[in-house]
């Protein structure tokens, strides 16, 4: 409890002068934004120090005045804000990576990673190792496409991971169509995978890329239907609205239990995790579309995979598990931690599935996608429609 | 195909009498429990093998083995019956200057690789084999390593 109290006192310090923050003419958000507030305060300290030092050297200069002005503060606060958002998501992803290694190890009757902090530092070591490798390019590739596709795959994944809000006060943008935008960016990566598979001049990569495309096409549709269903139930595409709608009634996995299971599997497939990782099926396709990427590129692709896995879990949490709210408590003192715990719980389910199941064959994946998940999502929609018409929600 | 009676699980004695009656050239040298050892001239190999496969229902060809006796070479076939576990060992001698024998791949598909192996290691040519190429050794090899004339370089 002490920790919570301390955290709250810290927040109170940051919230100090909240109104002042909001009164800033350049304030980029509509509502209170915690990371921005942190960054703003941080810049007030940093920028104020710089301005003061400059002022000591050149008394009463314009730069100092500009640095503590409203516009410059907002600008630098936004730059810090980007950094903070990325670092938080990065650490969350690293934790889920560590969790996967550790839990998977225990499920397989082994220990998982062992280096430092119960194996957490192994992620850091692996990252450093891949980053320090030589940047090799295979011959006879389409070099341009090869490079920009992988950059885009990674970039889009990081972008979409950062766009997931952790609470009502922790977000990047608060669109009315937030869920759709996340979904749109989430579904963008397979296109680049297809192109990159072609650009590598490798038969395995080509087949892997085509598999990624077919996987995406067949799983996008049920996913979108289920997003629409949730939006129908909540009456909005806005993430905050969806979460608070669940807080007001019940978590949505109760009325749409079919949808929850189906969406969970679809999300697993979309993030190309085992059992649905046919695009990089290592048994037959070596490493699928990543075959020709080595060193840092491969490390970043791996990280991007976990970013996508994190986003998939976050979407399940937002849509079905009540987001950052808890029943009877609502937002609570630290909604961000609640949200992350729920996300990691969903990720644990994914790890469980990964440990228990084998890889599905491509034609079976398409069959499951079109013949099982598609009808199930439509049934789910029908159930929700009945509930809505019946006036339960 | 021979249209004679089919013996599904012949005993050792039956195999001996049937083989020697049908093919006077075949010489059954020895019989043991579930084992029949026979010798035959190389011209008759395919004919006898067809008879053994179709009429005595020896469905499985275990091996085709080459042995280099310096003055001649021997090809040994091990054929087995899936109904009573009987095995026939057919051996045929090839003169050293004319290493040709009819392939039995058309009778047992399983003999394919064994014949290829015997060809590449001993230089015994199996006529009418669908694909008589080197299998284990590189395609650029020009000698037959398992012949006695091929000495190992190092000594123990």
């Amino acid at each position: 409890m002490d920790l919570v109290v301390e955290y709250n006192s810290l927040l109170n310090f940051i919230n100090f002068g909240e109104l002042g923050l909001m009164d800033n003419a350049y304030y980029p958000f509509d509502t209170y934004n915690l990371p921005y507030a942190i960054c703003y305060r941080l810049w007030e300290v940093l920028g104020g120090t710089i301005a003061w030092l400059l002022n000591l050297l050149f008394p009463d200069n314009g730069v100092s005045r500009w640095l503590i002005g409203e516009g410059a503060s907002t600008l630098f606060a936004l730059i810090l804000f980007m950094l903070v958002m990325f670092i938080v998501v990065f650490v969350c992803t690293l934790i889920s990576l560590w969790m996967e290694r550790k839990c998977l190890g225990r499920m397989m009757d082994r220990r998982g990673t062992m280096v430092g902090m119960k194996g957490f530092l192994q992620c850091v070591a692996d990252g450093l190792k891949t980053f320090m490798k030589e940047n090799t390019l295979p011959g006879k590739i389409d070099r341009m496409t090869y490079m920009w596709t992988v950059s885009l795959v990674i970039g889009v994944s990081v972008l979409v991971a950062c766009m997931v809000p952790l609470s009502a006060r922790w977000y990047v943008v608060d669109y009315d169509t937030g869920l759709l935008i996340i979904m749109a960016f989430f579904a963008l990566a397979p296109f680049f995978i297809l192109v990159s598979g072609w650009a590598q001049n490798n038969k395995y990569a080509l087949i892997g890329g085509m598999r990624a495309a077919e996987l995406m096409i067949s799983y996008e549709v049920p996913m979108l239907i289920m997003i629409a269903t949730t939006a129908l139930l909540a009456g909005s595409f806005n993430i905050g609205d969806i979460v608070y709608a669940q807080n007001d009634t019940v978590w949505f996995f109760i009325p749409q239990i079919i949808g929850f299971i189906t969406f969970f599997f679809c999300a697993t497939a979309e993030s190309e995790r085992l059992p649905f990782d046919i695009a990089e099926a290592e048994a037959e396709l070596v490493e699928g579309w990543q075959t020709e990427y080595a060193g840092m590129k491969w490390g970043l692709i791996m990280l991007a995979d976990y970013f996508r896995g994190y986003v998939a879990c976050a979407m399940v949490t937002i849509m079905y598990l009540g987001g950052w709210t808890l029943p009877f408590i609502g937002d609570g003192p630290i909604p961000e931690i609640v949200f992350l715990l729920k996300t990691w719980f969903v990720f644990f389910l994914m790890i469980l599935i990964r440990a228990a199941l084998a890889r599905v064959r491509p034609d079976q994946i398409l069959n499951i996608g079109w013949k099982v998940f598609m009808p199930l999502s439509v049934i789910n929609l029908a159930v929700v429609l009945l509930l809505k018409v019946g006036g339960v929600f | 195909m021979d249209t004679e009676a089919v013996y599904q699980s012949p005993s050792e004695e039956e195999v001996k009498t049937l083989l020697t009656e049908k093919f006077p050239e075949v010489e059954v040298t020895k019989t043991e429990a579930r084992r029949v050892y026979a010798k035959l001239p190389r011209e008759k190999v395919l004919e006898v093998c067809k008879y053994i496969q179709h009429n005595l229902t020896f469905e499985h060809c275990s091996t085709v083995i080459g042995v280099d006796y310096v003055d001649h070479m021997t090809v040994v076939y091990h054929l087995s019956n899936y109904y009573n576990g009987l095995m026939i060992e057919l051996s045929t001698d090839l003169p050293a200057d004319d290493l040709h024998v009819e392939s039995v791949t058309c009778v047992w598909e399983g003999a394919n690789w064994h014949e290829r192996e015997t060809y590449e290691l001993f230089g015994i040519i199996f006529d009418n084999h669908p694909k008589l190429e080197r299998l284990l050794t590189p395609k650029t090899y020009e000698f037959y390593p398992f012949r006695k004339s091929y000495k190992l370089r190092g000594s123990e």
């Binding site: 998977l104 499920m107 397989m108 009757d109 082994r110 038969k203 395995y204 087949i207 059992p275 990782d277 046919i278 099926a281 290592e282 048994a283 037959e284 396709l285 070596v286 440990a355 228990a356 199941l357 084998a358 890889r359 599905v360 064959r361 491509p362 034609d363 079976q364 | 579930r34 469905e59 499985h60 060809c61 275990s62 091996t63 083995i65 042995v67 280099d68 040994v76 091990h78 087995s80 899936y82 009573n84 576990g85 095995m87 060992e89 047992w108 598909e109 399983g110 003999a111 394919n112 690789w113 064994h114 299998l135 284990l136 050794t137 590189p138 390593p145 398992f146 190992l152 000594s155 123990e156």
Partner: protein, 380 residues
């Protein structure tokens, strides 16, 4: 029909897709060992396959011609790392046959125990490989965990884990150690319980079953003719097991079932192997009882002459992977004149074209896992 209309068939011919050769191996995650499988694919469907072996050709048979008889036993271990005991056993049996001697009862039963432990080892290794080929690493690690207990048994028996060098011409290397029978019975009991967990992971998972069911169908005649042997053959309906139908050592004195299925698909081959592990447990129990009954001081190894009389002899045995056969020609010296090994996988892998045709790329590892590749004995 007017000339402007192009016949449908012609259009179909024109629209035929390009076929692509994919070379899988020798460094490929699916090839357990050094071999290459060239597959021709039409989209995702395999239209042709050609296995290429020989990367590990060491001239084993030629090498054996330059060694005295006892020195070939450690070499026979290295034919197959997973089934070393059976190859050593087979070699010793062949030499014994050429010598015309009969070995003590106890040695026969110890060999049976060692063989069946080796069979379980090998099958668990195969199960692990099937797990990874189908994309489930948990099966791999669980199977390897079970295998470890049997490797420990090997250590207790003869001091080595994999290359056991245990059977000898005329018997076995050493007597069973004290408490070995207790250890082995415990291990077997434990294994039978633990096996159901792995089965729950494999057979109760609809994904694994659906990936193996109905692929690479072979008829009984086809299977016998292309020379496939072992569990793969029994999965196709050939009711034949050398241990039962052509018994060697004392296999006719132990009681066991030979599982046979007529489905002929990949899943049937899988099921046969799983059942064989349970049957091996039964055989081990009976043989251990027999060893106990023979008493502590029963002879387990007889002295054999160093020179083998001239002549030829062959023996065959039921390897974990199929029928293995050794043919020995002796010229009366202490070195063999010719020693030929018939490896089951050498023939089984030549059938991969028949098995892979018409399947999908993703099926190829699942199908070839059922062959249980081991390149040491294939290339020799």
């Amino acid at each position: 029909m007017s000339d402007s209309l192009v016949p449908v068939k012609e259009i179909e011919e024109k629209m035929e897709t390009d076929k692509m050769w994919i070379i899988m191996g020798p460094q490929h995650p699916f090839s357990h060992g050094l071999w290459t499988l060239k597959i021709q694919v039409d989209g995702e469907i395999v239209t042709d396959a050609e296995p290429i072996v020989g990367y590990l050709h060491r001239g084993w048979e030629k090498e054996a011609e330059n060694r005295i008889y006892p020195k070939i036993i450690p070499m026979a271990d290295r034919l197959c790392y997973a089934a070393s005991m059976t190859y050593t056993h087979l070699y010793c049996m062949t030499v014994e046959k050429a010598l015309g001697i009969d070995i003590p009862e106890k040695a026969k039963y110890i060999r049976i125990v060692a063989d069946e432990v080796c069979r379980i080892n090998s099958h668990l290794m195969w199960l692990a490989a099937v797990g990874t080929d189908l994309g489930n690493l948990t099966v791999f690690l669980w199977a390897m965990r079970e295998r470890e207990y049997f490797l420990d048994l090997n250590v207790k028996l003869c001091g080595a884990r994999m290359t056991t060098n245990y059977p000898r011409i005329g018997g076995v290397r050493n007597d069973v150690t004290e408490l070995f029978d207790r250890d082995i019975l415990r291990t077997v009991d434990r294994f039978e319980k633990a096996m159901w967990d792995i089965i729950a992971l494999m057979d109760d998972s609809s994904i694994i079953v659906s990936r193996m069911k109905g692929v690479s169908y072979l008829t009984r005649e086809q299977c016998a003719n292309i020379g496939m042997t072992g569990p793969a053959m029994r999965g196709c309906g050939v009711d034949f097991d050398i241990r039962r139908d052509d018994p060697y050592d004392n296999y006719d004195k132990v009681d066991f079932e030979v599982p046979v299925l007529t489905e002929g698909d990949s899943y049937a081959r899988y099921m046969i192997r799983i059942e064989e592990m349970f049957q091996s447990c039964d055989i081990i129990r009976q043989a251990v009882q027999k060893i106990r009954a023979l008493g502590k001081n029963a002879p387990y190894r007889i002295k054999t002459p160093t020179k083998v009389p001239a002549g030829s002899a062959f023996m065959r045995m039921e390897d974990p992977r199929g029928e293995s056969l050794m043919y020995l020609v002796s010229d009366g010296t202490d070195k063999p004149y010719r020693l030929k090994v018939r490896s089951p996988i050498f023939t089984n892998v030549s059938t991969s074209k028949v098995m892979c045709q018409g399947c999908r790329i993703a099926d190829v590892p699942a199908i070839l896992a059922q062959i249980d590749m081991c390149l040491g004995e294939t290339d020799r």
